[in-house]
């Protein structure tokens, strides 16, 4: 049996699905196994199907696949929802004593394990530990030493006292023993443990951690799925470093507060999702025009409008690239994995301050709710460098003042980057405005000055083009004529897809793009390749459009907009078909 196992627990929202899944994921991670989690959830608090899925292997796992090996089904619907992924060797754990599942029979050749979860839970100390009984049963099926669950249970319930921890441990054992005693399992799953130390975190947490590493001190936001975790992560933690999180009354306020804090010298950020980005758009121009450094994070979900709040999509690219009236110099960064959420957040802060522009950090729901294991060294805090750009203090403010002793916050420098003083710095007082202005920040409509200032702001982007490294991440066969390009969170699925394709004798070169802008080098790549396929989670191919425009060449497209991220095996199949000249039917799930 391969070591790569797909496990899930599903039931109704409010059944404790998330915490049970997380405990299992943590236990696996602490046992030195790699983990990749995903969630199916609906936009409601109680009721409605929800599931937490864990894929685990000793080797790295980068994506979800179309297969489910062990399923804890707290409701019959859970089985129905996952029928496509179940196979003959799958094991379904359910509680036949619960009325809803009393006459349930596992379909086909699958093994159904009827475990009296509720009864055993009560025996252990309370019906509330029902899911832990199921976990114990699942450990037995998976061949995963149950002791590894103990640590995760201690971590989870430790602060509730040892009695609670013991009840949980006991519950797990009762579940395990029940399966041992009552069933003669014919499956032979065997989850190896290793000495590796991993950390397990999701994309929003990685963004929050990156923000703190980068010296973020002020965050204002308004709760919205799936960006809220960023705010919740920072709340309490950023305070330890002298910062603050403010929950604003709406996104308009959130971004303006963040802007105010940035002007006062704080590294400042806000995060939201589609509907919130719409509201913030008004202020994009103000940020650019006042040359205020600000990181704006968009954790995308399915749109348009309120769309599917708990579903995946990469539909906001155009919004972050072009949103706002007038022309707004900006940078758009799209982390390609959970770890990259950390790294790109740090980079976003540096770019924002070095070039005094809005920087969009575009993540998405798939990364926000996916927890992934990493070696802690992946988040190397010693490597973090903070670059604040042209900040001017009392000592050199004179260098930037005119003959009337006025500070010139918008001086038209050669590199386009102007001097910045933080309020409190003597001699640096100045006005800044969203109106077109001169070097002093004074309103003007003079043609010459208008052109000078527009050019100056644009020049910052050109400077950044020269000074920064905007390379995409390259994978696969570097000699291949088949070029696959994607942006953001598709990287993991594509990485595994490359392996699938290789097995079938199809070679591809894969460029995963964390920088949406600038992109001249990419156009060159496209012109040189034979076949180009652009993969993205949206219907119209927003990134493909941009690339075609840049390269003046047509590209092939693979789009998915079902609300579910690409799965590795599915993506491999579609790439194969695309290369063979067949267009796949978009399958709705």
């Amino acid at each position: 049996m391969p070591d790569d196992l797909n496990w899930a627990i599903g039931g109704e929202a409010g059944d404790g699905i998330d915490s049970t899944g997380k405990i299992f994921a943590q236990a696996l991670s602490r046992a030195g196994r790699h983990v990749f989690t995903s969630k199916d959830f609906a936009s409601r608090i109680r009721g409605g199907y929800t599931a937490y899925k864990v894929r685990t292997a000793v080797d790295r796992v980068e994506s979800v696949v179309d297969r489910l090996d062990i399923l804890i089904a707290l409701t019959e619907r859970t089985v129905d929802e996952n029928m496509d992924e179940l196979h003959d060797d799958s094991v379904i754990i359910f509680d036949g004593e619960r009325t809803m599942m009393s006459d349930f029979e596992a379909p086909g050749e699958m093994t159904g394990l009827d475990v009296p979860l509720k009864r055993l839970a009560e025996e252990a100390g309370g019906a509330i530990v029902r899911n832990i009984v199921a976990l114990g049963a699942a450990c037995e099926v998976a061949g995963f030493p149950i002791e590894n669950l103990d640590e995760a249970l201690e971590k989870r319930f430790g602060d509730k006292g040892s009695a609670i921890v013991d009840t949980n441990k006991q519950a797990a054992r009762l579940g395990q023993e029940y399966v041992q005693d009552e069933y003669d399992l014919t499956t032979d799953y065997e989850l190896e443990t290793t000495d590796n130390d991993y950390v397990l975190l999701n994309g929003d947490e990685a963004i929050g951690m990156g923000a703190i590493a980068a010296g973020c001190r002020f965050y204002s936001g308004y709760p919205i799925t799936p960006a809220t975790d960023v705010m919740e992560y920072l709340t309490g933690r950023v305070d330890r470093y002298g910062g603050k999180v403010v929950q604003a009354e709406d996104e308009l306020s959130a971004i303006n507060m963040a802007l105010g804090a940035a002007r006062a010298g704080a590294r400042s950020m806000t995060a939201t999702s589609g509907p919130g980005i719409d509201l913030m758009t008004e202020t994009f121009g103000l940020i650019a025009q006042t040359e205020t450094p600000l990181v704006i994070c968009d954790v995308m979900r399915s749109g348009p409008s309120t769309g599917m709040p708990t579903k995946q999509e990469q539909g906001d690219l155009n919004m972050t690239l072009y949103g706002g009236h007038g022309e707004i110099p900006r940078f758009v960064l799209a982390p390609t994995s959970v770890a990259e959420c950390f790294h790109k957040t740090i980079e976003a802060f540096n770019l924002a301050e070095k070039y005094q522009t809005p920087v969009f950090l575009v993540s998405d729901l798939a990364m926000a709710v996916t927890e992934q294991t990493y070696e802690p060294e992946q988040f190397d805090m010693d490597a973090v460098e903070i670059e604040r750009g042209r900040v001017v203090d009392e000592d050199d403010v004179e260098e930037w003042t005119n003959e009337k002793d006025q500070f010139t916050p918008h001086a038209a420098t050669d590199d386009g980057v102007s001097p910045r003083t933080f309020p409190g710095v003597e001699g640096g007082a100045h006005m800044t405005t969203g109106l077109e202005h001169d070097e002093l920040g004074r309103r003007t409509e003079e043609e010459e000055i208008r052109v000078e200032q527009v050019d100056k702001r644009q020049r910052k982007v050109e400077t950044a083009l020269e000074r920064e490294d905007w390379s995409p991440r390259e994978f696969g066969d570097s000699d291949s004529d088949n070029l696959v390009i994607s942006w953001g969170s598709n990287e993991g699925a594509m990485l595994e897809a490359i392996d699938f394709l290789e097995e079938e004798g199809v070679d591809v070169r894969f460029l995963s793009c964390p920088y949406i802008f600038p992109r001249e080098a990419l156009a060159e790549e496209i012109r040189e390749a034979d076949e180009v396929i652009v993969v993205e989670c949206n219907a119209t191919g927003q990134w493909a459009d941009v690339l075609e425009h840049d390269a003046l060449e047509r590209v092939k497209r693979i789009n998915k907009y079902t609300g579910v991220r690409f799965k590795a095996d599915e993506l491999a199949e579609r790439v194969k078909q695309e290369l063979a000249g067949e267009t796949a039917e978009v399958e709705a799930e």
């Binding site: 010298g265 805090m381 409190g424």
Partner: protein, 287 residues
């Protein structure tokens, strides 16, 4: 901060483009006097302005300043103060800016009670867009967009502030220079959100709420036995629709600014060159 600061130090050399006689001249002079009188200087002062004739105020003053988008000056001011509580933060705007497009922010700024002052130049009209009715316009006020009157109740900004838990609620009249400056000064000195609604007549588009009208009707609370610390007394005055009052109408003397309650005492501008020393602990939380 130096003690020899004069109000003219807060003046920029930009030429105001306000109409001659506009109430905003007086409002601005009073603000600058109040800032100087409270011992502030331009380098530790941050003025945030809204959009409108009123919002141009930041352009004509000399200090750290930001002129933002319509209606959102308050959140900017809150962000500035939260990020550096050592700054004197003053937000200014018009009645349209503050009570119409920015009404939501107004209510929340009041209840958040950040230690800053908010001066609204209330001319009961939209000046900059050339004379449409504003949220404080009277019901029968005829303008280009309300030829037969607004047919809606004017907003009572003081009542809004009181109901939102305002800790300092005052009103002044821009042409009563001395009193206006005093009242703004009290707003600055108040620990919390110091809100001053200033009658600041528009001589070009509003021929109803004129200097003469205010001069004739205004009642200075100093000339009455009003107790500004008495909530019920304040409520009565604020809900009295027949009178225009000047003075501090309500002040909660126990008010403590939000940033102080949140424990912010230092500027957030200074950060280390790299990640915090204990940053690997953040990673280990995910074990």
């Amino acid at each position: 901060m130096s003690s020899d600061i004069r109000f003219t130090d807060f003046k920029s050399d930009a030429q105001p483009t306000w109409c001659p006689g506009c109430g905003d001249f007086g409002t601005m002079n009073g603000m600058m006097k109040a800032l100087a009188n409270t011992g502030n200087d331009p380098d530790n002062t941050f003025v945030v302005a809204g959009i409108g004739c009123s919002g141009k105020i930041g352009t004509y003053m000399h200090s750290y300043a930001l002129h933002g988008v319509h209606g959102r000056a308050l959140p900017v001011g809150i962000g500035v103060k939260m990020a550096n509580p050592n700054l004197e933060v003053m937000v200014a705007g018009g009645d349209g800016d503050g009570y119409s497009i920015g009404a939501g922010h107004f209510v929340h700024a009041v209840r958040r009670n950040v230690d800053m002052s908010y001066v609204v130049m209330d001319n009961r009209i939209y000046g900059l867009t050339k004379g449409q009715f504003s949220p404080t316009s009277r019901e029968d006020f005829e303008t280009s967009t309300s030829p037969e009157g607004t047919k809606q109740q004017p907003v009572n900004p003081l009542a809004l502030a009181l109901s939102a838990g305002g800790t300092f609620i005052a009103q002044s009249f821009s042409s009563d220079a001395q009193r206006h400056a005093e009242i703004v000064q009290q707003a600055i000195e108040h620990d919390g959100f110091g809100f001053v609604n200033v009658y600041s007549p528009c001589v070009t588009f509003n021929d109803v709420d004129t200097y003469d009208y205010f001069r004739d009707t205004i009642v200075d609370l100093e000339d009455t036995d009003h107790d500004s610390t008495d909530y019920d007394d304040a409520k009565e005055k604020i809900l009295d629709a027949d009178k225009e009052y000047q003075g501090v109408i309500y002040q909660d003397e126990n008010s403590v600014g939000f940033e102080e309650r949140e424990g912010i005492t230092e500027s957030m501008a200074d950060i280390p060159d790299g990640a915090p020393d204990d940053a690997m602990d953040l990673v280990r939380e995910f074990y």
